[in-house]
Amino acid sequence: MSSVVEVSHLRKRFRLPLDKSTTLKYRVTHWRSSSRYRDLIALRDVSFDIPAGQFLGIAGPNGCGKSTLLKILCRIYEADSGYARVNGEFSAFLELGVGFNPELTARENIFLGGAVLGLTRAQLRDKIDEVFAFAELEDFAEQKLKNFSSGMQVRLAFSVAILAQTDLLVMDEVLAVGDASFQEKCFDTFSRYKREGKTIVLVSHDLGSLEEYCDRVLLLNHGEIIADGPAAEVTAAYHRMVAEHAVAAERDLPARLERGDPAQWGSRAVEFASVSLLDGNGQSSRRFETGGSMTLDMQLLVHRDVGDFVCGMAIRRADGLLLAGTNTFLDHVTVSSHSPGGMVTVRYTIDSLPLLAGGYLVQVSVHDASGLEIYDHADPAASFHINNMGGHVGMLEMQGRWQVGQHDDVPSSGAVRQTAG
């Protein structure tokens, strides 16, 4: 099978000037310091091939070089050394609506955006009704783009973006846009591409969608590929990497330094035998939905007659930020064991998960009733992911209510609208 993309020993360095030196006055007055800049190595020796028909995901933390890699692939940046070759036609959605102008009508923008993709006016004219139907904007063809809601703009932009037939499709985080129903349409389109055997490169923070769509995922960190393989493996490696990062950040704590393995430590009088996450049907899962049910299932192996003890859990964001935590003591639940060698099952159920889209880590610990002796502590013990569904932004589902009242009889001012949460 031939490769659609060949990337070989790609290197890219950015020179960031420390001072702004684009004016004549600066050049004249600072002519001696013309070499003041900071080097930022975005890619160091990146090589990979993409065979035809592969759906490749690229993951990595912010600043890992994934956007730079994509831009070199799309010939927007030039590599310092090495090469990135695309055999065939490609379309890049580095951002939706590139080339769009708010002062033009939707129809005019389709001609303009289509032209940027390489499509001619005549071709687009034949297609324009279909585009409006797909974008669900049939009644707005002659409206100026600036009067569109952001959701409408995204729908139009996505519909134009998928118009050009290509051998390779390059996408940068366009999945997290639009309302839920249109998002489904986007996903349908990607599924169709996958069925049709298109070669696709998708860069995303959303590990869930990478796992769902990609045959293979590259994990980039500090400009290098640190993992390359099946999606599930690489996303697991990513979770590990993020977790190690979070742990490394906490290593300053002197108490932590005295203990051996910072990820899991304790006297092991009681030990976690297994920690898993269950969905509403009691099935083990790593993908959950906002508002859905999640149960943390902990199997504890008891080695000593410890009597009453405390079992706790906490949820962290992928970058280590502590979001919530509790334990059996705080919630007045008694856990005890007097039989060495026995097993204790402890479950913590969240009926309606208040978290929005993102990757999360679960930390668990068991300790004695006084909190002085840590039996076992694992951070992270599990990870899970929530997909963006409802379009709410941020981290937390507020579960609030809107109320709107109209008071037409208020004297001196016409209609007063009130909102209360």
């Binding site: 684009t22 006055k25 927007i76 580095l94 032209a115 940027v116 998928i162 349908d188």
Partner: protein, 284 residues
């Protein structure tokens, strides 16, 4: 899902035209039409402004130079010459001024889409050219109808002079648009250069006036392509007189220099633009 969602649920992709030239031409067309449209949407008079502005300039310059300073006395056809010169000059100055921003002002496109970057400059020039073409046709038709033009064999060279002007403008546009990305003072510098060129090219008075003061100065001014193009346009379209001769008559064989200069500016502009193109996306 439901049948409604499926009805509009798929959108088949279109095969791009095979010819890259056709795609690029199409993009130039779309971008220049857009630019042209945007320039005139929102204002009540729209396109009319692009005709009113040179006409106003003509009115003022006619009053100042022809009536008050008697610059064109001795040639009753000087007003027509002034009009032709002002329309050509307006194209030169507006095209170069907008081209300055053709790259720097399109950072979003450059950072997020791939297409040959020269398209931006060509589109910017084409958009200015559209206005220029309409104005030129209007002015030529009206002046011809009034009997102010002198169409003879030498008028056959007119398209060549316009071509020279376009080549010069394109070259300068490539040079200015690419340098402006890295060197923002260029905007101000170019304004000053434009002012020098405006008077140095004898746009608003007969070129011959410079000669009556200093032959050396006249030769120097005549070497600049704008002066040569404008003077030769006047000579090719309007009855010749003491004050209206071809540039070759004035500076002799030296006349090849401005023509070579126009081509040289184009070549240098092209080379500089190509050299700087890979750095655009990172610098914007």
């Amino acid at each position: 899902m439901t049948s409604v969602a499926q009805g509009s649920g798929t959108l088949e992709a279109i095969q791009r035209p095979r010819s890259v030239f056709q795609r690029n031409l199409n993009l130039v067309r779309e971008l220049s039409i857009t630019q042209f449209k945007l320039k005139y949407t929102g204002s009540a008079l729209g396109y009319v402004w692009s005709l009113v502005k040179p006409l106003m300039l003509f009115g003022i310059m006619y009053l100042v130079f022809s009536v008050l300073l008697k610059a064109g006395v001795g040639d009753k056809n000087f007003p027509v010459q002034l009009l032709i010169a002002i329309v050509a000059w307006t194209f030169f100055t507006e095209a170069t001024a907008t081209a300055m921003n053709a790259v720097a002002g399109n950072g979003d496109l450059i950072r997020k889409a791939y297409f040959p970057r020269w398209i931006l400059v060509v589109a910017s020039t084409t958009s200015a050219l559209l206005t220029f073409a309409i104005n030129t046709i209007l002015v030529l038709v009206v002046t011809y109808a009034l009997g102010d033009l002198d169409i003879t064999l030498r008028s056959l060279l007119v398209p060549l002079y316009y071509l020279e002007l376009i080549v010069l403008v394109l070259g300068l546009s490539m040079l200015l648009s690419s340098l402006f990305v890295f060197f923002r003072d260029l905007g101000h510098i170019w304004e000053i250069v434009s002012l020098v060129l405006f008077y140095g090219s004898a746009v608003v008075f007969p070129y011959a006036i410079i000669r009556t003061h200093s032959i050396r100065l006249a030769e120097l001014a005549g070497l600049n392509p704008v002066a040569q193009i404008i003077q030769d346009l006047r000579y090719s379209l309007v009855v010749s007189s003491q004050l209206n001769q071809s540039m070759a008559t004035y500076i002799g064989a030296l006349v090849v220099i401005p023509i070579i200069l126009s081509v040289a500016v184009f070549v240098v502009g092209f080379l500089v633009f190509n050299k700087l193109t890979p750095k655009f996306a990172e610098s914007l």
